[in-house]
Structures are given as structure tokens and as C-alpha cells.
Symmetry: C2
Subunit: 355 residues, 2 copies
């Protein structure tokens, strides 16, 4: 299926094949750059490689993982583009997860003042989240995505066959954004998915277009995150901090695992503020625990977590910015909470592990 997004770009959710590349050939690029990491080169590139024949192609491989999403890898990508003779009339195909899409989109958008790029997200997380919305960039100064810009790709090609190459834990991590999309914008979908615990039985071809549509609708209304787009931050204020805290520790959390902690604690804050019903808090808590299990958060790191939240670039006027739930399917943006309230939400979460 094709979701038209204004005149800007198409999101195609179907097996990538000749029709995709015929469309690309009609745009008459002088050549294509294909950015991969060591995983997607081995597991995903073979699915599209035959389509590349006949057009000058430069393949650039970077090491897989968020810890390589930094300026030096970006410098390497730019250098490889120069070495490969990539010109302004080339197009860059970013074949990988969020790291490849964010960093490859940033490198393409700044190479010779910007060349076109296509996102080919290969993880569930990037298919339902990172590849839509135009946020590009790299981590810098120990802050996630702190150097970057907003720019749309010319197309997003989602192919659920890539998901077969994902470890179950990665798939579960991406699923957190599916839960989030339903909680902030689609009560009916929430009521449906909260019955699912066996992710291997989910029909992704059905659920991904639905989830992408929620994100796309929000982004189209507020592309630069002045207001409504902040709904997408639900679960991410505390979630990001928890993810950052465990980043360099042995029991590292994946993005969605941090967001699961964030959705529980921020639902608790929503209930504490009286906007979310207690029974909905209980349902959200129960479902996230069933899917993600419980990860105890050491009491003596609460201050550091709150410090991390204060550094978030989304904050304004010294307050920590939250998105709360009014009810499942409806978010309230530009909320805030005190350090004491945040502490109590983390205590609520920790207590769940002992029950």
C-alpha cells in the first residue's frame, strides 16, 4: 500500500521489488549510494541487490550499533562518498535500522548541501517510528541525536520480510512504539493489541501501516514539534533517561524496553494528576509487564535519572517536559512533574517487581 503524504514523499509498505526501482530510475539519478551496516549487508542487501544492476552504485558499510552513531562514522560516510565520486545528482538508500536511517539521512542531507535519500528501514522500530517524521542526526557530547536536522526522504520503503532477520528482543523493542501510537491516538487499536503477548503470531503487514499512519498524521500537523508532535514523546521522558542510564552498564536496555518503563511511570504520573483512570493505569502497567518483564531501577540512581531528564532538548524554561495520557487514545502535551512526583512514579514501578 501507498500512504500519500502531501506531495512530499510516499511511504510504501510492500515487498521491495522492481516497481520501486523503476520509480527510482525514472528520477534519473547519476548513481546510487547504498548505506548498510555489517548486519544489513549480510541479511538485507541480498533481497534488493539484483535491482541495483545497471546503475553506478557505491556501497558504504559502517559497523552496526548505536555506539557508532557519531561524528567520526559520519565523517567516514562523507569521505567514502567523495572517494566513490558521488555527485549532487545521486541518491542515497539507507538500508538498516534507526541508526542507519538517522545517520545516513543526515550525511546525505549535508553532502554537497544535500542529496536525495530513501529510507529502507529494516527493524520494526525504524519501520513504525524512525523512518517517518524527518528527524535525522547523530549522537554527540553523550547526548542522543543532538546534532542533526529535519528533512524528509523522497520515499520510505517498508518491507516486512526484513523483520524475519531480527532477534526476538529487537522485535519486542520496536513493538513499544506500536503500543505508544495506540495509547496516544487510537483507543480501538489499544483495546485490540492489549490481548497480544506472542509477538511471533502478530501479522505485521496489518499493524505497521496502521501505526505508521498515526505517526505520519501527527507529524504532518506539526513537523517541527512545536505542539501536537510532542504527543509522540509519551513514555520517552523517563524512558530515554532509563535507556541512557543503562547504556554503559551490563544490563543494557534496548530503546523499547526503556520506553516500556517510561509508559508505565508516565501513566502513573498521568493518573496521579487525575487525568488517567486508575483502571487504565492498571491495564497499561499489566500489559507492559507481560510483554517486557520488570527491570529494577536502583533507588540510588533516581537523582541521576532526573538529572538526565533535565538535559533533554525538549525541555523549556527549566522544567521537565512530559506528555501525559488523558485516557487511552488521547495524549496531553506540555505537562510537567516535580522531582518528587517522578521519584514516586519510579517507586511505583519498582514495587511492581516485588508483587
Amino acid at each position: 500500500m501507498t500512504l500519500p503524504v502531501g506531495t512530499d514523499y510516499d511511504i510504501r509498505i510492500e515487498p521491495i521489488g522492481a516497481t520501486h526501482f523503476d520509480w527510482l530510475r525514472k528520477r534519473d539519478y547519476a548513481g546510487w549510494v547504498v548505506l548498510v551496516d555489517d548486519h544489513t549487508r549480510a541479511d538485507c542487501l541480498p533481497l534488493i541487490e539484483a535491482e541495483l544492476a545497471g546503475t553506478p552504485t557505491v556501497i558504504i558499510e559502517v559497523p552496526a550499533g548505536e555506539r557508532f552513531k557519531h561524528l567520526d562514522t559520519c565523517r567516514f560516510i562523507w569521505e567514502e562518498m567523495f572517494r566513490g565520486g558521488v555527485g549532487r545528482r545521486w541518491c542515497c538508500l539507507n538500508l538498516g535500522g534507526g541508526v542507519i536511517g538517522d545517520m545516513g539521512g543526515f550525511a546525505a542531507s549535508t553532502y554537497k548541501r544535500g542529496i536525495d535519500f530513501v529510507q529502507l528501514p529494516t527493524t520494526l522500530l525504524s519501520q513504525v517510528d524512525a523512518s517517518v517524521g524527518g528527524k535525522l542526526g547523530i549522537d554527540f557530547y553523550d547526548v542522543k541525536n543532538s546534532i542533526g536536522l529535519f528533512k524528509d526522504p523522497i520515499a520510505v520503503w517498508v518491507d516486512t520480510r526484513f523483520l524475519a532477520t531480527l532477534p526476538a528482543r529487537e522485535l519486542r523493542s520496536g513493538y513499544a512504539e506500536v503500543i505508544k501510537h495506540s495509547l496516544i491516538a487510537d483507543r480501538q487499536q489499544w483495546d485490540e493489541i492489549r490481548e497480544w503477548t506472542d509477538l511471533s503470531a502478530v501479522n505485521w503487514t496489518d499493524i505497521i501501516p496502521h501505526s505508521v499512519r498515526i505517526k505520519r498524521d501527527i507529524v504532518l500537523e506539526d513537523p517541527f514539534e512545536h505542539g501536537k508532535r510532542k504527543a509522540l514523546n509519551f513514555g520517552h521522558t523517563i524512558g530515554h533517561a532509563v535507556e541512557s542510564y543503562f547504556l554503559n552498564r551490563e544490563n543494557r536496555l534496548l530503546h523499547g524496553e526503556g520506553v516500556a518503563v517510561g509508559m508505565i511511570t508516565e501513566s502513573w504520573l498521568s493518573a496521579d494528576r487525575g487525568t488517567l483512570a486508575e483502571e487504565d493505569l492498571a491495564r497499561i502497567t499489566d500489559y507492559c509487564l507481560r510483554v517486557y518483564g520488570h527491570q529494577p531501577i536502583p533507588r540510588d540512581c533516581f537523582d541521576e535519572l532526573i538529572q538526565l531528564m533535565r538535559q533533554d532538548k525538549k525541555n523549556e524554561r527549566g522544567e521537565i517536559n512530559f506528555t501525559f495520557l488523558a485516557r487511552p487514545g488521547e495524549a496531553v502535551v506540555n505537562q510537567t512533574a516535580t522531582a518528587d512526583q517522578i521519584t514516586r512514579s519510579l517507586e511505583y514501578y519498582n514495587a511492581l517487581g516485588t508483587s
Copy 2:
């Protein structure tokens, strides 16, 4: 005076003072970054420093010169922004020549996915050229401006008092863009300025708005350089190559000095193609020599120069892209010339030095 440019931003050409900063304060930024180099910190910052009081300000100083317009200086600027606690609601004031404007604009446009910036150009070159048009970036892989993007500042503040701090040679270099603007778009101005040889007698307050208006009108019609904007490249295909060639040599040329060579040789090519009258070629040649003198180009470097032209990011389909003159005041874009023709234009130029 204020030149309105759509709803995007204002170009103010008048002494910078309280009204400028009142306007900025009304935009309610959390703080200001002021980017300077060692020259502009000493010579230009004092003229505006009193206006900064009362708003949190982070001053970032980088070494002066094109050879520092690279990724490592950009990294330093980003790091200083983080160290200074600069947030998304800050504004960056770029106080300096083209290097500060291009690099500071790029750093601001990518810091936390983009903060606002104001250009305060302090050289004639940046006042009539670099500060208008939205081209931002740094040099990379030995190619000028090869990493960057297009983004407009929220304002350009031109203050001719800054020109008093410029060496005469720098002033003369910037003046090449004034000549170019008249040659590509304003015959009347060309007929007027070609009488001027004593630049110390020029009234810059009159000529700068006129020159900026020419550039702005062209850029507004074609912001991303698909067609008409290429008129601004007149003199720059050969000019850039000559500038690059002498970059690491003892008799280094300033940008405008290279462009002067470019305007003479590309006028010769225009005449050779029959579009420009011989008498106009003679007038352009004569005037550029009177202002810039003659710089012999070694015969044995012609091949390297042509090689440099081939690498220009403006080329398409393997041909070297030129902008020629139809007559003074009218440019013709998307022209090309063979290596043999380029060689003969350089021989024409060299012969001028012996006459």
C-alpha cells in the same frame, strides 16, 4: 534600510544598534551565542557588546581564516555550545566574514536539529554575497563548502562600520562580487562602477544595498540553484579553480582576486562563443586589470586547473558548467566549454600581463 524578503527574513543595512537588539529581544530567546574569530572579537565585537547585556550570552571564539573552516572547528563550536548550556530556544549571532557566517550558520542549523541564527557580516565579501542566499557549510575532503545545507537566517544585519577594520586587499577582494552582480544583472550599474578605481572613495552605504538586492532577487527566484541562480556563478568556474590552485602556494590569491581572473577568462569564452561583443570583453578585461592587476598563471598548471574545474559540485553529466555573459547586465546559465577553449582563455589572460 530594510529589504523585505518574503516573510522569511529581513536584511537590514544600517548601523547595528538598540533597535536591532530590541527586535531580537521581542523574539524571547533563552540566550544568545555570539560566534567570533580572533579578529572580529577584537575589532567588531566592541561595537555591539553593550547591547548584549541582560541576556545570557555564550561567546565562542574560533581562529580566523578559511583554513579553519573545517569539521574539527565545527565540532569545537558544537562542544562549546553544549558546555555553555545552549538550548533549542537560543539564537546564534555570527559576527564575522564568510567563514564565520557559513560555518556558524551550519553549526547552528544542526545543533539540536537547528537553532535560529542571525548573520552579522563584517567583510565586504560577506556583506554583498555570503550572508544572503542560505548557503551554509564547511570545507571537507579538500573541497570548498562540500558539507553543508541551505537554510536562511532569521535576519542579516549589515553594518558598513565593520568595513573600516578591513585591510584594503580584503575590501578589493569583496568588490569583485559587486562587479559580478552588475555584470550579470545591471548594465547601468556596470557603466557607473567601471569608472571607479579608488575603492577608498566608494560610498559603500549606497552600493551594498544595490548589490544585495541583485543577489536576493536571483536567490528568491531559484533558492536551490536549479537554474537562474547559476547566474551568480559567473567568473567562479575558472575563478574557484585558480583560487584553489594558489591556495597552498606562496602567492595565495583571495577569493575576489581569483574571481577577477575568472571574470576575464569567462568573458573571453563568452566572446569566443559569439555572445559577448569584443568591445565589452575589452572593457571588462581592462577594468578588472586596473583594479586587480595581473597574476601570471603558469602554463604547466592548466591541466590541474581544468581537473579542479571538473570536480566542481555544480557540474552535471561530466561537463564543466559555466555561466557566460550575453552582454553586460545579462547572464546565460548552463553553458559549457572544452578543455581546449578553457586553455585558450587562460592564454588570453596570460598574454595580458606581457602587453
